[in-house]
């Protein structure tokens, strides 16, 4: 039979970053990934390779199972960055429904 190849998929973002200095190449992430994003590195002990980045669901099974903290990090697509701010920064107002001291108490 002729050889079978895999061509890396293109994606908008790298869903995960693997740090080769921390990764031990145990491939646990590869075993639990629901979409089989990774393939084993042909170099024995090398970090798994991300061949199908576009298929990531961003749930983080790979990070949860990793025995080496920080070896694999789940990235967030920049478009899903959410905004938050300290509560006190929105305190300066005349509250129509609650007296000011009520808000303080909250």
């Amino acid at each position: 039979m002729s050889k079978v190849f895999v061509v890396p998929d293109q994606a908008l973002v790298d869903p995960v970053t693997i740090y080769p200095e921390t990764c031990t190449g145990c491939n646990l992430c590869l075993h639990v990934c629901p979409v089989d994003l990774f393939l084993p590195n042909p170099r024995i002990g090398g970090p798994p390779l991300v061949l199908y980045p576009g298929e990531c669901w961003f749930e983080g099974s790979c990070v949860d199972v990793c025995p080496e903290p920080g070896a694999i990090v789940l990235n967030r697509p920049p478009a899903t960055r959410v905004n938050w701010k300290p509560r006190r920064e929105c305190r300066n107002h005349a509250a129509p429904t609650l007296p000011a001291d009520d808000l303080e108490r909250h």
């Binding site: 908008l12 789940l74 967030r76 899903t80 929105c90 509250a95 808000l103």
Partner: protein, 649 residues
């Protein structure tokens, strides 16, 4: 930094030429919550069980990464409602368009499944006493409740521990688990449409190996259809709310051999997709996982909560109590569909009303002003155990500096949505259609049982677990009475040829391109408004895709082959959904189904389940009375004497 791979040789052995033959009593296809429990349920009756899972059972399925609620647990010791009351609320709350059988099973048995999970190592109680004395905790059992704190039928659970426990349970019950194995085609007696199901064929997503499984009974435990209207190029994995491996393969497999479906004409405007919205539960809101968080406007003014009668609530505690004169309420703020007065829970005033009263956008979820126990249970337990929140939301936001005692989190849509979609961008969300079932959870195809999201009007994890176990038990009983089976070799060979066809090409149309094209047809011809003419145009569009693009689909390796087959299933499901829409010649509000050519809303003669299936002559349609399942208690007790005896024993 990631090592950048180039084109490389496929690292796993290639076994396209290898066929594995398996014989079993019960074959379970799909290893999510319903599949694992189907395996356990069948094994508990002494059946030999094989379970096929397309991904990895340890993490797969819609709740593979967690769940935070166990709904409808009417039989837990703290509950003040009966299974009959909850099933009735589910049915009437959806104006009859609901699965009375499966939701009654859920209300009767889902608490038992929770105890199973605990036995297999999952956390279902506050054993560390982190919330001792909280309003929502029962200090005797250490159970914690959500929504209606008086009636206590929805539990807060540590669902991030559940999938491991389910996997352990299936293994301990001696089910043979085949991971990375996609159930891809059903086998029927004599290879005939509509005949008894006698097993299935499967392909391995790493080696390409072909499996032929002979089974006396088969249980479908796959997902609802996805990617019909939504596709996110460049981030295909987040096209839908459910994980990308959830493509509704069961629907397509059953449709091909004559399975019967109902309610697939129902779809709602999309609520979640990486195409437009933020990840679920990652933005400020006050529903579901976040119920009943305080919401404030841009200037920090609190947006009032009101009960079903519009009475403003003064305290946080009141958000978790039924209204005066109300027996109990279902989810706060009602269902994603339409609130039903009798069971409607407290909710903030509608966004439009808030703007009229002068509240300023954007709005924020304000955990800082919640009582300490409520704040900690939302941010830390619910966000943290709900699917896809532990690492991408709780850990990521905490690392980025979000502090729930200090910060307010912005809201990006009205209600619990976190994005705005176009009217033609639709989705199966809430209570969608699926396979028709009887009281054994058997489908119209003899020997084929269904559970979880394959069933019509499915919803959450507790429903999946309860119906899975139930279908597994009944499949085992059927297998004990009806064996052995004979497969039809010509059908096996035809399936093999169909499934391996994309491997013939190294180039051509990629599955992503086909998947996106399907959504275009569905948006154009099966969008927010429907008519026979438009839907027929959709039939033509899909058939054109099938003859051209689908016939040019390529797969270079087993992984690509799995994706190609999933996408062909998406195409089949699109055809099934259009046929379902054609079959209902009436508009319906509850089904969110608007026909230009039949504009009258909900004419009484159409208040029934419309069914569709195929036989040799083509697509057939029929109907079932809206209450076809009969008396819930009497029927349940008639079919489950063994289970009830066990519970008593």
């Amino acid at each position: 930094m990631n090592e950048i791979p180039g084109p490389m040789e496929w690292p796993y052995p290639i076994e396209y030429d290898r066929t594995e033959e398996i014989d079993t009593d019960v074959l379970v296809i799909g290893g999510g919550a319903s599949g694992c429990f189907a395996a356990m349920g069948a094994a508990s009756r002494g059946a030999g069980v094989v379970m096929m899972e397309k991904a990895a059972t340890l993490t797969s399925g819609a709740m593979g990464s967690g769940c935070d609620h166990w709904e409808m647990a009417a039989t837990n010791p703290c509950s003040r409602v009966t299974p009959e009351e909850l099933a009735d609320a589910m049915i009437r709350g959806h104006r009859g368009y609901n699965n009375g059988i499966s939701h009654y099973i859920e209300a009767r048995e889902c608490y038992d499944r929770l105890l199973d999970l605990e036995r297999y190592g999952a956390k279902i109680r506050d054993t560390d006493d982190e919330w001792k004395g909280a309003d929502f905790r029962d200090d005797a059992t250490k159970f914690m409740f959500a929504y209606d704190y008086e009636n206590r039928f929805t539990l807060r659970v540590w669902g991030a521990t559940f999938k491991t426990a389910m996997y352990r349970g299936a293994k301990q019950m001696k089910a043979r688990v085949l991971d990375r194995t996609m159930g891809a085609g059903l086998l029927t007696e004599g290879g005939r449409m509509g005949a008894r199901v006698v097993g299935a064929v499967a392909i391995d997503g790493r080696t390409g190996r072909f499996t032929v499984c002979r089974a006396k009974a088969t249980v479908f435990c796959m997902s609802r259809p996805t990617r019909l209207w939504l596709f996110a190029p460049g981030a295909t994995g987040i096209s839908e709310f459910r994980p990308p491996q959830c493509t509704g393969d069961g629907h397509a497999m059953a449709w091909r051999v004559g399975g019967s479906f109902t309610m697939l004409e129902k779809s709602c405007r999309a609520e979640w997709s990486g195409l437009r919205s933020f990840p679920p539960y990652s933005t400020g809101n006050n529903h579901n996982t976040w119920y009943a968080c305080t919401m404030v406007d841009a200037e920090g003014r609190e947006i009032p909560y009101v009960d079903r009668d519009g009475r403003e609530l003064e305290t946080v505690a009141e958000r978790y109590r039924p209204a005066p004169g109300q027996k109990f309420f279902m989810k706060g703020g009602g269902e994603p569909d339409f609130p039903f007065y009798e069971f409607e829970g407290p909710e903030t005033i509608p966004p439009a009303e808030a703007l009229k009263r002068g509240y300023k956008l954007p709005f924020y979820a304000d955990l800082t002003s919640m009582p300490e126990t409520e704040r900690r249970v939302i941010w830390g337990m619910m966000v943290g155990n709900e699917g896809k929140t532990k690492t991408p939301v709780l850990a990521a936001f905490t690392k980025a500096g979000f502090d729930s005692t200090r910060d307010v989190l912005q809201s990006y849509g009205d209600g619990w949505r976190s994005g705005q979609f176009l009217p033609q961008e639709r989705q199966f969300f809430g209570i969608p259609g699926g396979m028709v079932n009887d009281w054994k959870l058997m489908t119209n195809l003899e020997g084929l049982f269904a559970a979880g999201d394959v069933l019509f009007a499915s919803d959450c994890a507790g429903h999946a677990a309860a119906t899975g176990h139930y279908a597994g038990r009944h499949a085992a009983a059927y297998a004990a009475k009806n064996g052995p089976v004979k497969i039809h070799p010509e059908q096996v060979e035809a399936e093999r040829a169909r499934l391996y066809e994309p491997l013939k090409r190294q180039n051509g149309v990629g599955w992503q391109a086909l998947s996106e094209a399907i959504t275009r047809v569905m948006q154009n011809y099966c969008g927010a408004v429907k008519s026979d003419d438009l839907l027929q145009e959709g039939v033509r569009g899909l058939s054109d895709l099938r003859e051209n693009e689908a016939a040019a689909l390529y797969a270079r390796n087993p992984h690509d082959l799995l994706r190609a087959q999933e996408t062909l299933n998406v195409l089949t499901n699109a055809e099934l959904v259009i046929q379902s829409c054609l079959a209902r010649k009436a508009s319906s509000k509850q089904l969110m189904f608007t026909r230009l050519d039949y504009p009258e809303m909900d004419p009484p003669e159409w208040h029934k389940f419309v069914t569709v299936w195929r036989d040799e002559s083509g697509v057939r349609t029929g109907s079932l009375p809206i209450d076809y399942y009969g008396d819930l208690t009497a029927n349940y007790e008639r079919w489950n004497t063994d289970y009830m005896a066990e519970a008593r024993g």
